[in-house]
Amino acid sequence: MNFEFFFNNLPALTITGLAFGAIYALIALGYTMVYGVLQLINFAHSEVFMYGTFAALWAVMALGGADASGMKLVGILAAALVAAMALSAAIALALERVAYRPLIKRNAPRLIALISAIGASFVLAELMGLRDRVAAWFGLDDDLDDYVGKARINNSIAGVVEAPRWDVAGVSVSSIDILVIVSAVAMMVVVDQFVRRSKLGKGIRATAQDPETASMMGVNPVRTVQMTFLIGGLMAGVAAFLYMLKIETTKYDVGFLLGVKAFTAAVLGGIGNLRGALLGGLVLGVAENWGSALFGTEWRHVVAFLLLIVILLFRPTGLLGESLGKARA
């Protein structure tokens, strides 16, 4: 156990941990909302996120991000954000329509919904990983080589954004980390307010608690579910953009590990609980970073899985308890 390293770098480790955690939180939002409304673990949400990272990547590439600076760069980044949110949302909606709606209509048993989710997750990931072959089938592989090449390995936009480091109370932190944390919290507040105050948001909460009564009160169940997936997708898109800012690299299978961690975050905070998703994400990010410093980076992922199992065994309702609609047994 590397105590010395840990204590010497505690503030920096914590800030970076919070940044990772913020990203987990944004992805966790999708898991927690869908589970709250449908009691369904949306396995494929990790791919919704992954597609967002590629949208951001491609936007930056297409608009010449590597050579830009100043306001032009900011503009390109803004476009990347929009692209990520748009693609993630689109994938999320398509997912709902194709893989889940037929099952929801039929009140299919849990295992079957899980199977569909897993299958969809594989299909989406593989399509991205095989995009060079897919493009070749349309004869477009040469024109699009920059985008579809290197399909099975890391794709990066390293060096596009050179973020200044700031000095916060004697600790050197990356401004990107600060940006990530602030953005995530801001987005969570926006969604939280939306769910609390808007008509659609109330419809979501009502459907989560009692779908039949909600529909009898005029809440459209199909629209509600779509809205849930849409919000989750948009937030995953934001997470994807921030992820690319921070990590600068992506790959077709980047979704799985992040998805599991985000799901852990959702459960940690209390599945169905939006604020829980934020708290869970931040706690997980920090715990993971600390664990990584104490035990060595190879054990980083084990921390997440262990935390998941421990919570499910000892406090399945999570830190803030289940909410949205009492996630039913």
Partner: protein, 378 residues
């Protein structure tokens, strides 16, 4: 009994049935020797493929107990498989030099214990959560193997002991394979399998070993299913609360299902390690847990013959059509989604599910009026 059989055949007298089954079994043993044209796998050793198929069948039967009979969502079955494999590997190669036959029971015991240890705290949680916890377990096992030097880390463990051969390196006798030339079938005395030598090149003896274990497992499955234990599993799956109130100690039986599944999984893992002669953490990815589950769900959970069909599909097809290897996972994922939407009960569901479904469809036809109205409103 939930056997997949054509209705006419099940009316035959018992002795005739037994003879038929024996013939089928003999055909199965002879299959790799016969080298039938469309079935053999080009470019890959057919015997080896068949061995993998038997391992998947074994796993499917074990997972069927957990998922199909007891109704527990398990996404981490590969963990038990890994415990069995690593135990066999450590005992016969990495840290000791036990013969395989001595290491096997220990490997199986280890996996069973891991099943009990995993199940005891987790079987109390809700269905979805159980799935995630088991997934976490499978991944933790793999990550421990990756990060622990004592388990070989990423390099893995090699020189895992093979099963003991009968008759030294030359065996007792040699069995020739068939050769399908242009238009004629010949006995090829150059292409033989030594009985019973577990060597490096010829995979067929391993297949025979695997097939025998599968046959024994089928018997065991039938004996246990047609008893108080099998009934308790079914009742627990159908309505756990009602079952408990009818005097079924549901938690104990769920744990028993888990342990039984772990037993079988560990056995498959140890046998696989023995043939493979080398294991590393990449053999135990989450992907395999999903593949195993798919075999069970696609085949027809709850039906021992159905899940074996599923195992054959999942294990054999990718080897038969190797040129599409890159698309394996994609096709697989598509198959899962289509199955979930179009035929969730699987290709060969247990007979009672078929009858229940027919009743459900009849009721749906009667209620068709109401459904139409609901759609219009939305």
């Amino acid at each position: 009994m939930s056997k997949f059989k054509l209705p006419a055949l099940s009316a035959l007298p018992k002795p005739v049935k037994i003879v038929l089954w024996v013939l089928v079994a003999l055909l199965a043993y002879a299959l790799p020797l016969l080298e039938p044209p469309f079935i053999t796998t080009p470019g890959v050793d057919f015997g080896g493929v068949l061995f993998v198929v038997t391992m998947y069948c074994l796993i499917a039967l074990g997972l069927n107990i957990v998922v199909g009979y007891a109704g527990l969502l398990d996404l981490g079955y590969v963990g038990f498989y890994a415990v069995g494999a690593y135990t066999a590997a450590i005992l016969t190669s990495f840290h000791a030099n036990w013969p395989l036959l001595l290491a096997l029971p220990v490997a199986v015991l280890a996996s069973t214990i891991s099943g009990v240890l995993l199940g005891a705290p987790t079987l109390r949680v809700r269905g979805d959560y159980l799935a995630i916890v088991t997934l976490g377990f499978g991944e933790i096992i793999r990550l421990i193997a990756v990060n622990t030097e004592w388990l070989g880390e990423r390099r893995g463990i090699s020189n895992v002991a093979r099963p003991p051969s009968l008759g030294g390196t030359e065996g007792w006798f040699e069995i020739p394979h068939l050769y399908w030339g242009d238009g004629s079938v010949l006995l090829d005395t150059q292409d033989t399998t030594k009985f019973l030598v577990f060597g490096v090149l010829d995979q067929i003896p391993y297949y025979w070993m695997g097939l025998t274990v599968v046959i024994l497992m089928l018997f065991a499955d039938y004996l246990v299913k047609d008893s108080r234990v099998g009934r308790a599993w079914e009742a627990t799956r159908e309505d756990e609360d009602a079952a408990e109130l009818m005097g079924v100690p549901t938690f104990r039986f769920k744990l028993l299902a888990f342990a039984s599944g772990a037993f079988v999984g560990g056995l498959a893992g140890a046998l696989y390690a023995s043939r493979q002669n080398f294991i590393n953490p990449d053999s135990f990815l989450l992907l395999f847990s999903i593949l195993f589950l798919a075999a069970v769900v696609v085949g027809g959970q709850g039906n021992r013959w159905g899940v074996m069909v599923g195992a054959v599909l999942v294990a054999y097809l990718p080897q038969r059509f190797r040129e599409f290897d890159d698309f394996r996972v994609l096709v697989f994922g598509l198959a899962l989604v289509l199955l979930a939407i179009l035929r969730p009960e699987g290709l060969f569901p247990p007979r009672r599910t078929v009858r229940a479904k027919q009743l459900e469809q009849e009721l749906e036809v009667l209620e068709e009026g109401t459904e139409g109205e609901e759609d219009a409103r939305v």
